[in-house]
Amino acid sequence: MNTIDPRNFQSISEASVSVEIETEDMTLNIGPQHPSTHGVLRLVAKVDGEKVYNVEPVLGYMHRGYEKLAEVRTYPQITTLVNRIDWVAGFSNEIPFIAGTERLMEIEAPERAKQIRLILTEMARICSHFVFNGAYALEVGALTPIFYAMEDRERVLDLIESVTGGRFHPNFNRIGGVKPAAGSGPTTKKNIQDLPVGFYRDTKLAMEKVIEAADKFQNLIGGNEVFHKRTKNVGVLSKETAEAYGVSGPILRASGVKSDLRTQTDYLPYEKFEFEIPIGQNGDCYDRWDVRTREMVESAKIVLQAIDDMPSGPLQAKVPKVIKVPAGRTYVRAENPKGEMGYYIVSEGGLGPYRLKVRTASFSNVSILPVMLEGALLPDLIAIMGSLDFVLGDVDR
């Protein structure tokens, strides 16, 4: 996918002015304002009746220049920015950045802080998959599930809010630990606030509800004959193609590759918990939906285990008052709800990074669209696009 190629611009300008209808093929502009493009993705599709035979994604309508902005900010300020990359799971964006900075500064966050991070990351994953479930059903034409999904997600968002004070953009991680929680805890001047009162009880209830909800979706959406017809054997992505295009996350796992950075790297203490990595067999739209829905249950199980076995201790490691990162470079990657997210941090010893490169999951995942949409039908185009579950903030940054 080469969007800077001038030839592409030519075809785009053709598309936007042509009002007359050709008899053989038609250039259809899908987006940037379209109900199913998850924001402002634009697809320039050549269609012959209902058949799509050439699709060109056009990116950049949502470019906010976070990589450049990060160069003129200090490290603690950058967490606010990276929160907004994938806004559906804001919390998980902070983790790899903080982990990278800590690695460069050679600070180890306390056990308890790490576990809180882990719990909230999994909650963010659950939220993201809830949104996917609702939105995907909407895209194949079922109007009801999104209301159930949003209602169930609210419980989890409330928990995130009770700890961090924010629903979508928590801005909760600090270098060397986490922010003292915003909720009401037993506070004295010396005792900084920890997790809010009743957090364990509420989480337990909410996670049981999540498992219930995932089961509900398996019946409500997955048990629907029409949904099967719309998604099975549609948009089949082979293992080899997926790997060649750098696709990651649930999409890669749906194609049958058992790849999960949670078990492969150590950015958070996942090795303490037992969980399964759901994988699919066919790599079609149904598998991609199924993998995400099963992942919700696994995430809920991780959270349940984590609150049962909570280490005590401080929330913050000893960190200098003015955070200066020694010169060096590092790349930390993490398993985000949408796939692999990585931060390449280059430090020259100042208050802020010299260069910050963000590798986002959705960007690589969207790159597979032209391959997958070749020869698809127009309704399949929407089904396939929805099954990739991208967020435009995550694509354009």
Binding site: V19, I21, M26, L28, N29, H34, P35, S36, E50, A137, L138, E139, V140, G141, A142, L143, T144, F147, Y148, E151, N224, V226, F227, K229, R230, L377, L378, P379, D380, L381, I382
Partner: protein, 323 residues
Amino acid sequence: MTDVLIKVGFVALAALNGAVIFTIMDVKGASWMQRRPGPLHVGLRGFIFPLAEILKFVQKEDIIPTDVDRPVFKWAPAYVVVSAVSLFAVVPLSPTLVVVDLELGVFFALAISSLSTIGVLTAGWSSANKYSLMGGLRAAGQLIAYELPLILAVVGVVIQAETMSLVGIVEKQIEWGVPFAFSGQIVAFLIFMIAATAEMMRVPFDMPIGESELTMGFMTEYSGIRFLIFYISEYMSMFVLCAVASTLFLGGYHLPFIPTEWVNIYGPISLITKTLILGFILVAVRWSFPRFREDQLQNLAWKFLIPASLLNILITAVLKVVL
């Protein structure tokens, strides 16, 4: 002359009221199934919701884009609404309470219901919008494909009833003692309901509108009062087709165990109750199914519904001759 005017007024009012009742049922059904508080609790338990909806559309600007084919664009909603309203003329509320009891009532109903195709197709074509065009073409293909099973399903009923007049069909059902849906025409009834859902372009057959694919299909460029006409006529045709279905298959105005002298009183109530029950099934289907793909929809019509309805005609005809 006044006679005709009264009849026209009655048809228009009945169809409009039916549409409003079905709109209320649809939004309330949706909010009940989706646990939305809006149309369930706000404003007289949600009953003035459709009024707000209508007022909203009326006071909006009627935008006509520059490139559209103006007269065609402006007239397109009229075809749809005329088709829905005039269908109501032949539906009997009782043996005497009927606008016109045509000898060829069934034929008229089916012919007039396919008039809406013209409106939808012209709306899609004249909008100068690719999404509208695709929606219009999809609608045309779909309406042609589903017109056939609709007609063929009714042929079974006509054979059994030996008449094409809608009053005659109901009288025949009274004679049989059991509505046709439960005395030999159950397959035809199911085919009729499926095909009628496709005719109304409701989920799971709403590809012509398909808001996640074609934004709003053939209605994309419409706004204000013209959009409202499309919107209302969808519910009108839903109401009328359900009324036709309950007349053809569920005994229409007839109620058992009640003396037939009172038919002018209980007839309308009986018919409307049956219509509402059928409508409720459509509402429940709408809010629980995803939509089919265009090719799957065509396959369903040509490969399953049409052969099944032909088979139904054959069996009905054979049984008619034998019995």
